[in-house]
Symmetry: C2
Subunit: 143 residues, 2 copies
Amino acid sequence: MQVMKAPGRTMDAEAVEWLDAVNWQADGLVPAIAQDAVTGRVLTLAWMNREALLQTERTKEVHYWSRSRRALWRKGEQSGHVQRVREIRLDCDNDAILLVVEQTGGIACHTGRRRCFFQRLEDGAWQTVEPVLKDPKAIYGKE
Amino acid sequence: MQVMKAPGRTMDAEAVEWLDAVNWQADGLVPAIAQDAVTGRVLTLAWMNREALLQTERTKEVHYWSRSRRALWRKGEQSGHVQRVREIRLDCDNDAILLVVEQTGGIACHTGRRRCFFQRLEDGAWQTVEPVLKDPKAIYGKE
């Protein structure tokens, strides 16, 4: 999709071009993977709409769309576990995002673990293989 | 979801229990991330249904569900770029899969690049930042 480039176009207009390149699902979302820039660990899979991706690019802090709360969500807004974005990547089909991030506090998961992918399939059962680093009550209790 | 354990239950019955733990979307799919076990690179985001995940676990070769072809798809069945699975992980909401894989040939993408996430956002535009390692015609031409 091409947008005419012209001097003096607004920042919003600029944003349209690269946002339009994304193949948004019918529900206006795409899946977004967050990967730790330092350790390489895959932290989280969450969802973005146009606004979340635009705000992520502008603020350099990752924003998602919460499907359960149906609201824009700045990652870490309650927990302080902000994800500072280093790279934003798009896949070959333009329908998935990869975020390379610096994970504040080393905890990405609401359970207090370093990442959300803490269950591993072993002998036909999901086993929890990563420890809770901080009690969620301590993370969210003061909110 | 609990399934009664009993001696002599079939392999299919065994499979049900851990497959039932997954929060499949209304369309029967979940997103699955493939990460290179050696380099740590995030290679691909694709989709799995129950059969794809079961076949992945049984054969140790990654199977996806192709949304465009509406068919089960053994990764590499045409290209030879098979993904041998080392770990299958599930996230905190049970609605996303992480596969840690050995990528045959070092090429995961149908464009002949090592991975699908080869576009990076730079100054408001998606830039291709990874080279084509093998011409797709050479990969798929003999099929």
